[in-house]
């Protein structure tokens, strides 16, 4: 009890919790869940964009996309390391991904169907991620907060690059404009879903706010994202696919339509276009790589025994 109270005092005083500090078991579990979900999202997120690296329409765009996906791998690494500070191994994290007990962002279960999707993902998906991550820079767990600082710097590049892809398309041919609008039509609502259920329906929210694992609620963050996106869309002639989107003078925010939570549930429960494939892809690569990992272990082992001898 005393430990718990002291822990909460530290949180309230905006102290960062560090790996060796005492923490409630639920806090630990909650964070492992959140960080691992975040890590897996970076890693699984390599697939929908990786799908277009070999088809990028210019060498410049190809280089930028490659660099971006590389950054995502890097983010995955930071985040796995953060999670590992809580006493879970990478192998365990990967196992949970494969057996379905760990999640990743649902948006990566949507397929990438045109080059414009690289723009929409950069602009909207990375955009939504940043809104969330900026807020998480002040999360109470030290290693996680520090990961977020590093990640945020890179993500804002990604968002600008995505936006630039769409801008270029919107300045192009009729077909290109249609391609850009179509991508935004498909990714807008799933991006809003990225912030999670409404605050009232959010299972983990209240406790997470108290522990300052989360610093702003789902709905606050979502509103922020909507507000910033409307202006950006208008600037390049894109229409956001929501007839209810309108400026609310009184609130000082944009009102927007209700999210189709049935669709969200459908995707969560396995009916997204790519649910099975994303995990199967990861599992295949992991399985195909097992002989390589074994080889390194054996090699290092031999080296050590030679050094001892």
């Amino acid at each position: 009890e005393g430990l718990n109270a002291h822990f909460q005092e530290r949180i309230d005083a905006e102290e960062k919790i560090e790996p060796k500090d005492w923490m409630p078991e639920k806090y630990r579990k909650n964070l492992i869940r959140q960080i691992s979900q975040h890590a897996h999202s970076e890693v699984i997120g390599m697939q929908p964009e990786g799908n277009w690296i070999t088809r990028a329409p210019t060498l410049h765009r190809k280089a930028v996309l490659l660099a971006k996906v590389q950054d995502e791998a890097g983010h995955g690494l930071y985040l796995y390391s953060s999670a590992e500070t809580m006493g879970i191994t990478r192998e365990e994290l990967i196992e949970s991904l494969h057996d379905g007990s760990a999640k990743y962002a649902q948006i990566f279960n949507y397929p990438t169907l045109s080059w414009a999707d690289m723009g929409a993902i950069g602009w909207l998906v990375d955009g939504a991620a940043i809104v969330n991550q900026v807020s998480l820079q002040r999360t109470s767990y030290g290693p996680y907060a520090r990961s977020m600082v590093r990640i945020c710097k890179e993500e804002s590049f990604h968002q600008r690059q995505g936006y630039h892809i769409l801008m270029t398309l919107m300045e192009g041919s009729t077909e290109q404009k249609a391609m850009a609008q179509d991508a935004v039509n498909r990714f807008w609502w799933p991006s809003l879903m990225m912030f999670g259920p409404h605050d009232a329906d959010s299972a983990h929210s209240a406790q997470s706010m108290k522990w300052k694992v989360k610093r702003q609620t789902n709905d606050e963050l979502r509103q922020k994202f909507v507000d910033q996106s409307v202006e950006q869309a208008e600037a390049i002639g894109l229409t956001l696919p929501d007839p209810d989107l309108v400026w609310n003078e009184e609130r000082g925010h944009f009102d927007f339509g209700e999210i189709d939570w049935a669709e969200f549930d459908r995707v969560v429960s396995g009916s997204g276009h790519c649910n099975r494939e994303r995990v199967a892809h990861h599992r295949r690569a992991h399985d195909e790589g097992s002989w390589v990992r074994d080889a390194i272990c054996a090699y290092e082992e031999k080296k050590r025994s030679r050094e001892v001898a």
């Binding site: 410049h60 190809k62 660099a67 892809h281 790589g289 390589v292």
Partner: protein, 255 residues
């Protein structure tokens, strides 16, 4: 040669080097999200990125000399299989991790020697690209050489796979060291590298590594060649179908 002819010849030379980098970069980029673990995914993507950058530098220079509105992208996206001049080894499918790393190691040793010579080219553009590329390659080489030792000296399985990869690759190394008239001419005026002169050093370097890794590069009882004259394997056409699809489907657009 006349000034204009020299420029066009150098353009072809730069195109060859650009094609090598573009096609190998493509094969490496296919590893994205398919590596044996995340660090390696990152590393392979990084090497791919270096090659795409190198391709851009060479192709851009080739386009500049060629004129007629050529760009790095028109060269990459608007030529068909028979016009590509990369070595055949570069276009072979990525295979397993042992195959990709064995190819990379064979080429890294080759590139290290080649770029060290190209650095001295009288063509300052080529020399400049070589300088930047040489730094990258020395990093690639350290990595791929280490992998030869790891795979050769790891498990029976990794040793078997590495040896299999070398058996498959050996016949594609011959053309790396064969010169044609175009390159000989450029060599004479100090622009191009005499690749045939690199063989001994290359062979001694790879032999040393493979001895340490306890594998062998089989003697070249066969040799498949033709990349420089556009006589490719059946793999390149499929690669290009993917590489060029968007540009081909929506011609004349900016991206």
């Amino acid at each position: 040669m006349k000034e204009r002819d020299i420029d066009q010849t150098i353009s072809v030379y730069a195109l060859r080097l650009g094609d090598d980098a573009l096609i190998l970069g493509h094969r490496l980029s296919e590893w994205c999200s398919n590596g044996p673990f995340l660090e390696e995914d990152l590393a392979l993507t990084n090497v791919a990125l270096d090659y795409v950058g190198r391709a851009r530098n060479f192709l851009n220079y080739a386009a500049q000399l060629r004129g007629n509105g050529s760009t790095e992208d028109s060269l990459a996206y608007q030529r068909d299989c028979r016009d590509f001049t990369n070595f055949l080894m570069h276009e072979l499918p990525r295979g397993d991790f042992a195959f990709t790393l064995a190819r990379q190691y064979l080429l890294d040793e080759y590139e290290a020697l080649f770029l060290a010579e190209l650095l001295k080219s009288k063509d300052s553009d080529l020399a400049g690209i070589a300088a930047k590329s040489a730094k990258e390659t020395s990093y690639h080489l350290r990595r791929s050489r280490e992998w030869m030792l790891r795979l050769g000296g790891g498990t029976d399985e990794s040793h078997r796979r590495l040896q299999l990869a070398l058996d498959e690759l050996t016949g594609y190394t011959t053309e790396l060291f064969e010169m044609d008239d175009l390159e000989r001419d450029l060599c004479e005026i100090g622009v191009a590298v005499d690749r045939s002169a690199l063989f001994d050093r290359w062979f001694s370097a790879v032999s040393k590594t493979f001895a340490e890794a306890n594998v062998t590069l089989p003697p070249a009882s066969w040799a498949v060649k033709g990349g420089r004259i556009g006589f490719h394997t059946e793999h390149l056409g499929h690669l290009l179908a993917e590489l060029q699809y968007v540009q081909r489907a929506y011609p004349g657009c900016r991206w």
